[in-house]
Symmetry: C2
Subunit: 405 residues, 2 copies
């Protein structure tokens, strides 16, 4: 049991009616199912952020291990099992299930005893489980982190001043982990011209120099190949460069394509996530067309601005739209790399996630698995510790709008 607590104290003399004693705390929703992600066997899997935040909220956790790393899953699961025992917690606080098909996942999400679920993975997988969760007689919160192409906006002054270096740094981010980051920069949006050409040329050289990397699973590799083929065959994107391709299985070949803004606006398929190290540059005629492309974007985990001081007005003009489109906005960095802290948001509007009100990384993630309960006029002996009059847990409670110290 944890989370914020507050109280509204009695006002016995209030007219026309007195106020009673009201106290509120947050309690866990109940058993939570966690679907481990394929791409982060530690941070987003058995003992990842979903599990940590659900346990912190006071919820028992049932993990469905990802079939991409059953061995790691078991090792981590046994470590948690030992920790549960060492802490004297009930055994049922943590369970780990294996199963490669969809049956186990569907059965978990539709079990009436399960009260919430967290998922990191593909859009199709996430939506299928989300639908199952919403079709129950009692629907439950289902937090799916699904797909994001993490647009990067190189603004004019920055592009003119450092297009070449920016192109190289961009490809370094694109290639990280063979592009298998949820926050991989899959889209670049800029106004066309010499400065953008220099960026594209430098990025193209860096792509050509990119060595082949082994992807995590045959399924991810096949989806990547099919996604790249979709861009190539769309008739609306021209290939700038491809990296080298190794001989082994599941070899990821980096790719860079360019498309015209109008073609991007006309073809929804060009917004589909290609999970891996391929990116698409959208060339806009001017700032007005760039604005239209921005408005047209689906929800994202991140949006990145590359800007210099002279770009400030352009950035200010874009910001309100960017805030509506993404959970995290970055300046002069790259979206890969997610800090675990209070201020982090790893979430965003649909289809980046199924619930933009939350984050799956950082301390705010606990709120996904809590609900408030109000206690009216309970005798002190019956109140939970967190709400007793003399505050035995020494919590910083909000009492009549003021925080206890």
């Amino acid at each position: 049991m944890s989370g914020s607590t507050c109280a509204s104290t009695p006002l016995p003399e209030r007219q026309p009616l007195p106020r009673v004693d009201l106290r509120q705390r947050q309690i866990g929703l109940g058993p939570v199912v966690v679907f481990g992600a394929s791409n982060f066997p530690l941070a987003f899997s058995v003992a990842g952020g979903d599990t940590a935040s659900a346990l912190a909220a006071g919820c028992p956790v049932i993990v469905k291990a990802h079939s991409a790393h059953p061995g790691t899953s078991e090792l981590v699961g046994r470590a948690i099992q030992a920790a549960v025992k060492q802490c004297g917690l009930p055994e049922g606080v943590f369970s780990l299930l294996f199963g490669s098909g969809r049956e186990v996942g569907q059965a978990l999400v539709t079990d009436p005893r399960v009260k919430a679920a967290g998922f990191t993975g593909s859009r199709s997988g996430g939506l299928a489980l989300w639908k199952a969760a919403q079709s129950r007689p009692e629907p439950i919160p289902f937090y799916a982190e699904m797909s994001s192409i993490n647009p990067v906006f190189p603004l004019p002054a920055a592009l003119a001043a450092r297009g070449k270096e920016m192109g190289e740094a961009f490809v370094a981010s694109l290639n990280m982990g063979a592009g298998q980051f949820c926050t991989n920069p899959g889209l670049v949006i800029a106004v066309k011209g010499q400065a953008l050409d220099a960026f594209v040329a430098a990025a193209g050289e860096a792509v050509k120099a990119s060595g082949s990397q082994t992807m995590l699973t045959p399924g991810i590799f096949e989806a990547y190949e099919s996604g790249v083929k979709g861009i190539a065959d769309s008739g609306k994107a021209r290939e700038i460069a491809r990296g080298s391709k190794g001989d082994g299985p599941n070899q990821c070949q980096t790719g860079l394509f360019v498309t015209a803004a109008q073609d991007f606006l006309d073809d929804e398929a060009l917004q589909a996530e290609v999970f891996g190290s391929t990116s698409l540059v959208v060339e806009c005629a001017d700032a007005a067309e760039l604005k239209r492309v921005t408005e047209h974007l689906e929800g994202q985990l991140t949006i990145t601005l590359q800007m210099d001081d002279a770009d400030l007005d352009a950035a200010r003009e874009l910001l309100p739209t960017l805030e509506r489109k993404a959970g995290r906005i970055l300046v002069n960095g790259w979206p890969t790399g997610v800090e675990v802290c209070d201020a982090m948001v790893h979430g965003g509007p649909f289809p980046a996630t199924s619930d933009a009100r939350t984050t799956s990384v950082g301390t705010a993630a606990i709120h996904r698995f809590l609900r408030p309960v109000c206690y009216q006029n309970l005798p002190d002996a019956l109140l939970p510790e967190a709400l007793k009059q003399d505050n035995p847990l020494a919590l910083k409670r909000l009492v009549d709008g003021k925080r206890e110290s």
Copy 2:
């Protein structure tokens, strides 16, 4: 724009990687649709808690007026319109639509520009609109407050000490507003015996003495009559008393029935909300059967304990189950009457509401219409006012886990 803000300051020397500058604030989800309730033309309608919390979150509001009080709705809507003008806000910040069928509501909830909705009303109406909201290409939060029978538990010592007075006070709460409160006490659960008999006898006398009251609409009256008939015809409940019935239209006749715990457990229909002043007493053989009945309950807005000091152990034993079943737990009061304050929870597990993580009354209601955005390494000139370094809005921000004063 409002809500809590926080920051995680840079740690440039951290190993193995530095921490960047991260700041978080909450922004409005976007346009919100509010469905006015039939039963509270002020508190839960055009200018009710849903509208207030959505506006406070920075969201434009479109109200679908309830057809039960179009005149009141228009008067209140015009007052808001004048206020919007007086405050110099854009006209589109508030709209009011009329329409008696389902078309307007469905069209509003499925419009891609709408980003959330609040609803107070029946379970069937709420679920239909909830389903429409979840079936959109981009699903949206739909906060439906739907149905609750607000169980009352008279515990043994309290029942023995003051069963008669309790029975009379219970019927006074039952009759409030012809029973048309979301928090009307529609169920009493207790261990059978002389003390409960005295409570039932006193309540029965009070019911017989209850005058007829005019219900809000013909539809509500018909649903009430049909609900009472359902209990009477179930073959599982015995009528204790009915109040008098007036000659005018839509006259609500108070009712009191008693059923055996096993019959209640066997027949789900006895848990259906009867919106109006009829209540059902569930007689349990002992504390163990009472526990089974409690576990069997659906989600509720409120649960009330009537208890004396000698009931403390019994109350402690029940409390963890009650917390899982309801949004608000009361001792020695009656659930009708909902204070607007920080600590209030007017919400609860399904089917009381579609989302137990929230409340529709009190200051916490604003969180339903907010989502977090994280800003990474933004220059101060680009940061929103709420997050600028020198804190021009003088907010109490959480910085590295400590609150600014």
